[in-house]
Each structure stands twice: as C-alpha cells, then as structure tokens.
Symmetry: C2
Subunit: 437 residues, 2 copies
Amino acid sequence: MKELKVGLLGIGTVGGGTYAVLTRNQSDIARRLGGNIRIVQVADRNLALATQVTGGQVPVTDDAFAVVNNPEVDVVVELIGGYTIAKELVLKAIANGKHVVTANKALLAVHGNEIFKAAAEKGVVVAYEAAVAGGIPIIKALREGLSANKIEWVAGIINGTTNFILTEMREKGLAFADVLGEAQRLGYAEADPTFDVEGIDAAHKLTIMASIAFGMPMQFDKAYTEGITKLTSKDIKYAEELGYRVKLLGITKKTEAGVELRVHPTLIPEKRLIANVNGAMNAVVVKGDAVGPTLYYGAGAGAEPTASAVVADLVDIARAHGTQAEQRVAYLGVQLDQQQTLPVLPVSEVASAYYLRMRVLDKPGVLAEVTRILGDATISIDAMMQKEPQDGESEADIVILTHVTIEKNMDAAIAAIEVLSAIDGKVTKIRMEELGK
Amino acid sequence: MKELKVGLLGIGTVGGGTYAVLTRNQSDIARRLGGNIRIVQVADRNLALATQVTGGQVPVTDDAFAVVNNPEVDVVVELIGGYTIAKELVLKAIANGKHVVTANKALLAVHGNEIFKAAAEKGVVVAYEAAVAGGIPIIKALREGLSANKIEWVAGIINGTTNFILTEMREKGLAFADVLGEAQRLGYAEADPTFDVEGIDAAHKLTIMASIAFGMPMQFDKAYTEGITKLTSKDIKYAEELGYRVKLLGITKKTEAGVELRVHPTLIPEKRLIANVNGAMNAVVVKGDAVGPTLYYGAGAGAEPTASAVVADLVDIARAHGTQAEQRVAYLGVQLDQQQTLPVLPVSEVASAYYLRMRVLDKPGVLAEVTRILGDATISIDAMMQKEPQDGESEADIVILTHVTIEKNMDAAIAAIEVLSAIDGKVTKIRMEELGK
C-alpha cells in the first residue's frame, strides 16, 4: 500500500489532537493498515502554534489554500469549522481530486447535499465520523453496522455541553443560568453558548443521522429546535419523582405521515440506559427492525476523542484510495441516486406523550376542570401528582403525564387550560419518550 | 455492481432470521449497496424446514458440501455451529475461493488462526460480526471505528443467558438453580447450560475481541473461565448494599507483564452504564487511549438481531468482492503478518480488587485477626460491612472490599484467614473492577 499523504487544515484543539494521535500511534495504525498515514503539510492562521505543535517536523503555512492545492496531498482534513471558508476549501479540495475528512457538522447539515454531489462527480471520499458524537463510531454503525435494517428511529444525547448542564442541575438542584456560568468556567461551554444551549448543534448532528437512517437528503431547515434555557430544576426534580430523567435529545423517527426531526428537552424513563448517561458524555440509541434497540456511548467532544474519529476516517480512506465508487460505502449510507426526499413533519403534527406542570389556586374543582379539558381532547392521563402549597403560598403545582397525542391537540388543550381562572400563568410542557420498542 | 450470490448453511433460528431479513429488507439493502444480495442455495438436514422457510423460492439440499462446492455461490454463510463439520465446511469453502460469513464463535476462538491463514492464502474474506454480541456491531467498532487507538482494555457482558439469570437473582432474590430452571422454560437457557453458565461461551467471544484489540493470535486455551453457578443471591444483595452490581464479565487488558484474558463474576460500581445492562441484553466497554471509554449495547442473541450482523457482513463482502487484500480490513484488525504472540497472564498474576465474604463466630477479636492478615499481606481495605447474626444464629457475615492486589497474594491471605478458628468454612471471593479510567 502506498503511503497516504494528509494535509491538515487547522491545528487547534482537534487538529492538535489529530496530530498527537497520528504521531503517537503511528506504528499501531500501520500494523492495522499495512501502510502509513503521514501528515505532509499543516495550515493554521497561527503559524507559531502550528510550528510548536508539529515540532518543526512538518511544513506549515498560514494559507489553507496552499494545502488544498498541494499536489502531494491525497486527503485534506478540514478542522477549521464554520460555513464560509470551510465550504470553499472543501469544495476546492474535491475539485482538485482530493479526499476530504471533516468534523464540521454545521457545514454538512447545511451544505452537505452540494458537497456530496460534488464529491461523487469527482470520485473522492468525504468522511465525517468526527462530525457526530465525537469519538463514538456512530456514523459507521449507521452506514455499515446496521445496514441490514430498516431504521425506525434514532434518539441521541449529542451535545455534551447541555448534558453536563442538565446533569449538574439535577444533581445539585441549581438553576440553568448558574450551571451555565460554571460550565463556562470549566471550559464545557463557549463564551457564546447559543449553538449548544439552543439545540442548534444537536440539530446539525441529528440532520446528518436522519439523512443516513432514512436515505434522504439533508433537511436541516426543517428541523424543530428547542433548547434547555427555559428548563427549571423544579421540573427536573418532579420528573425524577415520577421515575424520569430530563435530557436534551435529538430524535428522528420515520412514520406513515413523514419524518420527525426534532431537538428538545425530553423526559425518559430512568430505567433506560440512555437516561443514565451523565456529564459531558454522549450516547445514541438506534432502533432497527431486525436488531432492535442498540446504544452507542462515549465522549462526544474533546481533542483526542474527536481525533480518534478523524484518524479512523483516514484509515478507511487509505483502504478506499484507488477503489471504484461501487466498492465504497455510500456517502450517506444510501446511494445518492437512491435518496428519497421524505417530508419532514412540522412539530405540530408530531405524536408524543407530555409532561405538563401548572400553578393552580388551591381551591376545589380545579383538577376536575383540567381533566375535563384533557378528556374532551381525548388526551389520556398516565400519571398525576399534586404538590402541597409551600408555606405562605396559596398556589400548588399540579404535574400531569399524558399518553401519546398529536402536538397541536395538546397545544389546543393547554390553551384552554391556561384561560381557566384557577390557573396562574403558563403551563410548562415537556415532551416524553419511552424509547423502548 | 454484480449481484452477490449467497449459499446458506443451516436454516434454524439464525438462518431463518437471515433469510427473513434479507427478503424483507431487500430493497433497502439494495439502495444502500447499489447492488443485490441473493440467496441461491440453502442446506439443512431438515429439508422440510428449509423448504418451508424459503417457501420454495430457493433450491434446498440436505448436503452442505453441495453448497460449498456450488460454482454459482460467491459467499458461504455458516450457521451450523460446532467445531467439526463447520470447520471442514469453512475450510472447503475457502479452498474453493469463496468468502465466508460465520456466527460460530467457538470455531473461531479455537481454530481461527488456521482459518484466517487459509483465507489469506486464497484471498477471500472471512467475516464474523455475528460471532460476538449478536447484533451489536462491536467487531466493526474494534477493527475499524477505533483503529486510531491503542486499546487498553475491553470488558463486556457477552452472554445473555447469564445476564438474564443474574438480573433475576438480583431483582427477585432467587437462587441460581431456581432462576436457571425459569430461564430454561423461557428459552433463555439451553437444556445443557454448561457453555453459558460456566463462562465458556463468553470466553470464546472474549478470545476473539482480545485478538483484535491487541493484535495477537487467538489464545482461547489460555483464557481463565469461571462461571456463575456458585454465586449466591446473598452476595448479590451485599454487593448492592455497597453500591455494586454483579455481572459475568469477559475482561481483557494489556499490561506490562502480559495480557489478561478472563471471564468471571465481577462487582462493578452501579454508577457505570454497563452495571445497568439488564436481562438478556449484551454490552461491551472498549477503552482506547485516544477515545477513552466507549460502550456498545444491544441484543446479543436471537434470530433477527444475529441476522442483522450476518447480513451487514454480506453487505461489506459485496463491496469487498473484487478488491485487493490491501483494500480490505485485516481479518483480526491487525495484518496477520503483524500479529504478536503476547503472553497471557495466569489468573494468579492478575491484579484486581476483591469482594470477600466470610462467616465468623460472633466473638471479640475476629475482625482484628482478619485485618492483621490482610495488612501483613499489604492488602488495603476499601470498605467493610459486618452484618448482625440472624435470630438464633451465632455467626455473622463480614464483607470486605479490598484495594487492588495480585491474585496469588489475595489467595495466600484468604488461606491464612480460613484457618482462623473463628472463621466458619470458606471465604467467598469475587473480583471487582472499576471500569473507569
């Protein structure tokens, strides 16, 4: 096997990890591959950093296009992030006939259809294991390991920042804002945490997994995204009393009516393995018709876990280099010309069970009115819990778990409940998933 | 892509599942592969069953060698099991230039070195995802998904029968023998359960994973195997009171001194995800130096979960068909000519923490004597629990959790404890693993 020559774009956290892993485990990788993978050029705006990380062993440049246009380079590893320059570099690398490895979930979720089409025309590989759930080989499981299955649904904790925050809120009873500050100090959350806490990062990753699971193009603009900023530790505590944990899940499910594609806080029965995934760790459950539910767990971010996925892609590319397209795994699991543009359901059409919490005046008949409204909407109640008013308060919390109904039906019932005179303020609604069969 | 033509040996549980999955999901698989996989011949001693399952759609025979020698067949799927005939059929298929898919963990653990050598000489693929942990794509994760890593250890619940029995013993407080009977009635345990309950089946699977993880030949004969037949529900209860669950684990670890390769009941902290894998489900934790701990969970047996793995192997083979050896994943992760015969440590040299339980006469000074013996052996105590004697009894249980020590050191201390006059009978010893960093 010829040596695979790698051009590395970006030598920050993941780029540095990739350099470290490839260097440290070079002989192990060669024993597996029967060949070598070598970084032949590194580009970073911070030339001093690039020189320091590589110890002067590799030519460095501050011009990423010099790497993309370097005739010696077989594969370009894009670890710059963002949409604009990264897209230009990836498309130029493809146009130059080079394979691409990227950890850029945002780029693929938004521009993936264009990128994979270009790659198919040039006959090069675009690999992206690191883009979803860091070091967990979930893309390989979806594209290859479960290839015998009709995938029914995928549900994942695919953002470590929010899982860290939710874990701290539950364990310490703290408010979201307080934990966010702590997470920022510890480096688990960015200075601007919007992408993470509003569920956008998770929606990018979910978009990619949905495309593979159901053989459809990327439809990121159709994803429903709801973050964790409005979650209270009170709701987390009540959920726990009822036997549930609250997680920010990315969920995609194929139904008769269309594909569900949604990110939101979700109650999960505590007996489910994924309900017990804590801290910054990630986990994805995939339900196939033959295999049943399977789960994949590991570090979803960090220098070396992400590098583990980048380097695994390089090993795969070293083998695929020189093969024909039909001997390679399809970019998105299904052959591009076999993709079907399945309709994505608006969230109002999604079927779910619900956790509802409302503040009610402590007087007779309130519960009867609430249950009558739910009954009229044919929404069945699975469990109910009324908390005593706290000292000096005249209002109590009522928590209701419902059976499955269509979201617009639930929302209409909630609107009717909120106008009751005995109800104070808005009803808190959190979706629930069994994640069983 | 040319159609891949499959000859199926054995159409019992897994064979029937394979036929059903390939038939039901034919178009989904074709969309992924860009080609077809078709069963062209089925062999089973029970011709009536073969005809019934295939509905007369496929030629059937009771002569497995007719399939292996059929010039039309590209790949032979061996689902017969056992060592003798299965080995002969697999080697003959290889000699005839056919690829092989097998779910036969016993065959590979015992004769794998010979089989892979023969396959390499003929340039055919031998795939075996179904041989370890059923539908969980753990072989793919180990060989490909984690290829960037030095694997440090692997620990798995890789036998569903014993995990079902241990779960029932814990949840219902029942004795091993009672639960075994129930498991046999439910079809979770064989009439002769020896292979499962004595840990032999788990040792077969562990042997295969250890070979991949550490790039060494199969060394099944060196595996230490201890089953669950002597476990009591009392020890499971005491472990739980101390924050641990008892699981039958297959553990392989690379140390300076050699490779640990061992199957035995193990205490695991209940906060670990794998400690919460219940019923007949399987899970494997793999610790890589770059990725950290990762976990893979799913059904470890059953018709369609196992078929999911068999068919995924067929999809991989359809792509690999016609490629050169260097473009394929190495049989056991590492190129055969790069394997190293690492020494397997005898269990007496393995380092572990321990759970010890002893029956003591309820009189002063006993504990002092026991702790003196442990102290003299430089074995540190991590936790201790003394249970009150039950009504009418003069003996109490003492439970001790130790820090890590070498097994022969532990055994010498136990021997010294057992001769104390205040100790009644044998000391129960169960190994403990943190499975953390």
